[in-house]
C-alpha cells in the first residue's frame, strides 16, 4: 500500500496560489477557511522563499494524540482524516499541529469555534466514498476516483508534489542530484521523521 505524502519544493514555488485556488474550488471551501496556504518568508528580500503548506498527514500525527474525542484516524494510504460528527471544536489539535493546519469556522458570538476543517489529501471523510454527505462535510474524494490531490495537479511549476512518498522522494532526489539540495524537503523531518538526501 502506498504511503501518501506531500512535498513542497521551495526552490520552485513562485507563490502563484494556484494550489490554494484549486483546493478552494474543488472542495467549495468557504471564505476565511484555508486548508492550504502559501507562506512566504523574507518577502521582498534576497533569499525570499515560498512554501505551500497544508496538513502534512504526519506519521503518529500529534493532532490525533491530543484529541479528547478521538476523532482522527489514519487511512491505509497513510492519510490523516477526522470525523466532523465526533469533533467538538475544542481547538487542541490546532495547538498540537506543527504546521497550523486545523481551521475552524466561526459559528457564534465571541468567536466560538465550529467543527475543525482541514486538508483531506482529497480523500473525503468517514462517510461512503463520493456520497453527498461526504462532499458536504469534507469536499471531493479524488483518491477514491483514482486521482491525486488537485493542489499538486494544478501546481504550475510542479513545486508541490503529492502521492506515494517513495515516488515523490525519487522525483525530488533527481532534482537534488541536478541542482543541489537547496532549501530541502521542508517539513519532512517534523511530519515523517525522515529526510531526503541524494
Amino acid at each position: 500500500m502506498a504511503r501518501m505524502k506531500f512535498l513542497c519544493d521551495a526552490d520552485r514555488c513562485i507563490e502563484c496560489n494556484a494550489c490554494v485556488t484549486a483546493c478552494k474550488n474543488e472542495h467549495e471551501v468557504p471564505w476565511g477557511i484555508n486548508r492550504r496556504r502559501v507562506v512566504t518568508i523574507n518577502d521582498g528580500k534576497p533569499g525570499e522563499r515560498s512554501v505551500s503548506m497544508a496538513c502534512m498527514h504526519c506519521t503518529d500525527a500529534p493532532c490525533a494524540a491530543v484529541c479528547p474525542v478521538n476523532c482522527f484516524y489514519t487511512t491505509a494510504d497513510g492519510v490523516v482524516l477526522h470525523s466532523k460528527d465526533l469533533c467538538i471544536g475544542c481547538g487542541y489539535c490546532f495547538y498540537a499541529c506543527p504546521f497550523g493546519a486545523p481551521q475552524y469556522p466561526k459559528v457564534g458570538n465571541f468567536g466560538s469555534r465550529g467543527k475543525m476543517d482541514k486538508c483531506t489529501f482529497c480523500a473525503g471523510g468517514p462517510e461512503a466514498d463520493g456520497s453527498r454527505e461526504e462532499y458536504e462535510k469534507y469536499g471531493a474524494n479524488r483518491l477514491a476516483e483514482g486521482k491525486l490531490p488537485l493542489c499538486a495537479e494544478m501546481c504550475s511549476t510542479k513545486s508541490l508534489l503529492a502521492g506515494d512518498g517513495e515516488i515523490i522522494a525519487q522525483i525530488y532526489k533527481e532534482r537534488v542530484m541536478k541542482r543541489g539540495y537547496g532549501s530541502g524537503a521542508w517539513g519532512w523531518k517534523t511530519a515523517y521523521r525522515e529526510t531526503i538526501e541524494s
Binding site: 513562485i14 507563490e15 502563484c16 496560489n17 490554494v20 485556488t21 478552494k24 474550488n25 471564505w31 476565511g32 518577502d43 521582498g44 528580500k45
Partner: protein, 477 residues
C-alpha cells in the same frame, strides 16, 4: 458610452459617478465558456473551444453582437454572405473559414475548423517539448499543436504551422521560416565620403532548408513565378482566380492577394516562404529613432538630464497630436519632480488579470487579494511616517489626482521607487463607488484604479500610451 463585457467595468462606475444619466449602455457579453469558436493565443496557436453552458441572463455571444451591429448599420447581408446564421448567431465554423479566406497575408489561412477540432481530439499525441504530432498520424500527422500562424496555404496543403518565425534549419513545410523582406528590397546608404550606394535588403546566401532558391528572394508574385518557370505548376482553376483578382495586370498579383492560394502552394512546393527571404533589420530606418537612444521619461526625477536627453518633438501622429515634448518641458519648469519625488510603476498580481473585474468577482481569487495597495521602501515609509498596512494617499502629477490605498512597506522596491498593481477599480479619489454598480453585479473586491494616478505619454511609432511609469507622492492618510 457602450460597455460590452461579462462584468460591468470600472468605467461603468465612473460614468455614474460623473453624473452621466443618458447614453450609457452595459451590454452583457458571454464568457468563453458560453460560446464556441476558435481562440488564438499569443504564441500564435489556435484552439477550438466548445460551448460548455448556455449564455446566462441576457448575455450574447460576441459573434451575435457583431452581427446585430452590422444589421443595424445595414451591411449584415454583405458581411455574412458566406456565413450561416442560426437566428442571429453566426456559425462559428463559417466565421473561421471566412477568416481563413481573407487572411492569406498573415498565414492565418490553413487553420480550418476541421483541423483545429482534430487537434483537440488528438491532444495526447502532441509532444510536450516540440509540440509536434508524430508524422505518421492519420489525422494530425506532423502538425504543431494549434497550427501557429503562419500556417501557409489552404487547409488542404496541410502546412504544419510555424512555432518559430525564423528557423532556417527546418524546411518551410516542416515549420521553418525566414525573415520577411517587409521594408523594400533595397535601400540607399550614405557613405562617410558623402556618396551613396544601394544596399540589398534580401538575404545573402542564407535560406531555409530544402529551398530551391539558395539565396535571398523577394515576395512571390505571378511575375516572379513566371521568371522562375514555376507558373506551370499553377492549376487552371488557380490561374483563373489570379486573372479574376487583377484582370488588367495578373502579373502583379502576389501571394497575399491571390485568393486561390495557388501562388503560396507553388512557393511551398519549391521549399520557399511565400513572403520572401530578407535580412533582419537592426537599423530600423523609417522609425523616429532608427537605433534606440536614451530619452528621459516625460515625468522624470532626473530633470538635469532632460535638456541632454529630451523626448521627441511634438508632432501629429496617426490622427492625433502628441505633445509629449511640451508636457515634459512644462513638468521641468513647474518643478513637478520636487512635488512628486517618487518614481511610480505599475504591474500585475498573479491572482488577478487585466482590469480585474472578472477575477475580483471570483471568491476564490478575491479572498487572496482583498485590498488595493502600494509598495514603498522602508526608508521612504519612515520619512513619511507610513506604517506597513496603514492607509495612505497617493497623489499624481496631473489633474490633482489622488487615490487612497494601503501601504505595503517592503525592500522589494528601492528608495525613491513605488509600485502598485493595476487590477483594481470601483473606488475613485478615496470614495467607494459600490453603489454605482447595477445590483448584484459589483465585484467582491473594489479598490482605487492605478490609472487614476498615471499620466500623459504616447509612443511615437505605435501610439501606445504610457500607463506603466510616472511620478507620485505618498502621504499617510
Amino acid at each position: 458610452m457602450v460597455i460590452a463585457d461579462p462584468h460591468p467595468t470600472t468605467w461603468a462606475s465612473l460614468a455614474v459617478e460623473a453624473g452621466r444619466k443618458d447614453n450609457l449602455y452595459i451590454l452583457p457579453v458571454a464568457t468563453q465558456f458560453e460560446c464556441k469558436g476558435s481562440r488564438v493565443a499569443s504564441n500564435r496557436s489556435l484552439q477550438w473551444g466548445e460551448q460548455i453552458v448556455k449564455p446566462v441572463f441576457e448575455s450574447k455571444d460576441d459573434l451575435e453582437v457583431i452581427h446585430l451591429m452590422a444589421k443595424k448599420f445595414g451591411f449584415a447581408d454583405k458581411m455574412f454572405k458566406n456565413i450561416k446564421l442560426e437566428s442571429n448567431l453566426p456559425d462559428a465554423e463559417d466565421v473561421l473559414r471566412e477568416m481563413n479566406r481573407g487572411s492569406w497575408s498573415t498565414g492565418y489561412c490553413g487553420q480550418s475548423p476541421e483541423r483545429l477540432k482534430a487537434h483537440m481530439k488528438n491532444q495526447a499525441k502532441f509532444d510536450m517539448l516540440t509540440t509536434r504530432a508524430p508524422k505518421n498520424d492519420p489525422e494530425v500527422g506532423g502538425d504543431y499543436y494549434g497550427l501557429p500562424w503562419p500556417c501557409w496555404g489552404s487547409p488542404e496543403v496541410k502546412h504544419p504551422g510555424t512555432p518559430l518565425l525564423y528557423n532556417t534549419n527546418l524546411a518551410v513545410m516542416d515549420g521553418g521560416g525566414t525573415f520577411r523582406p517587409r521594408f523594400g528590397i533595397e535601400r540607399e546608404e550614405k557613405l562617410p565620403d558623402g556618396t551613396t550606394r544601394k544596399v540589398s535588403l534580401l538575404a545573402d546566401g542564407s535560406y531555409s532548408k530544402d529551398s530551391e532558391i539558395q539565396d535571398g528572394y523577394p515576395e512571390f508574385t505571378l511575375a516572379s513565378l513566371k521568371k522562375l518557370g514555376w507558373d506551370k505548376d499553377l492549376t487552371e482553376a488557380e490561374m483563373a482566380t489570379i486573372n479574376r483578382v487583377n484582370s488588367a495586370n495578373p502579373d502583379a498579383v502576389s501571394w497575399s492577394l491571390d485568393l486561390s492560394g495557388g501562388i503560396q502552394r507553388v512557393a511551398l512546393m519549391h521549399g520557399c516562404v511565400p513572403y520572401g527571404n530578407g535580412k533582419a533589420r537592426m537599423n530600423a530606418f523609417g522609425l523616429p529613432d532608427p537605433i534606440p537612444v536614451h530619452r528621459e521619461p516625460i515625468y522624470t526625477p532626473r530633470v538635469d538630464l532632460v535638456s541632454k536627453y529630451p523626448t521627441l518633438p511634438d508632432a501629429k501622429q496617426f490622427r492625433m497630436p502628441n505633445i509629449g515634448f511640451s508636457v515634459q518641458k512644462a513638468a521641468v519648469e513647474k518643478g513637478i519632480a520636487k512635488q512628486f519625488p517618487l518614481i511610480l510603476s505599475s504591474g500585475r498580481l498573479v491572482e488577478y488579470e487585466g482590469g480585474g473585474e472578472e477575477t475580483r468577482t471570483n471568491p476564490w481569487l478575491a479572498e487572496l487579494q482583498q485590498d488595493m495597495f502600494i509598495e514603498i521602501s522602508p526608508s521612504d515609509a519612515a520619512d513619511r511616517g507610513i506604517k506597513d498596512g496603514g492607509w495612505v494617499w497617493v497623489t499624481g502629477a496631473e489633474s490633482n489626482s489622488k487615490a487612497k490605498m494601503k501601504a505595503l512597506v517592503t525592500e522589494r522596491v528601492g528608495r525613491g521607487v513605488a509600485w502598485m498593481p493595476f487590477h483594481f477599480g470601483g473606488w475613485f479619489a478615496g470614495r467607494d463607488l459600490r453603489g454605482n454598480y447595477p445590483q448584484g453585479t459589483d465585484p467582491i473586491v473594489l479598490g482605487e484604479s492605478a490609472n487614476t494616478i498615471t499620466t500623459y505619454g504616447y509612443d511615437p511609432a505605435t501610439g501606445m500610451q504610457e500607463p506603466k511609469v510616472t511620478l507620485c507622492q505618498i502621504a499617510a492618510a
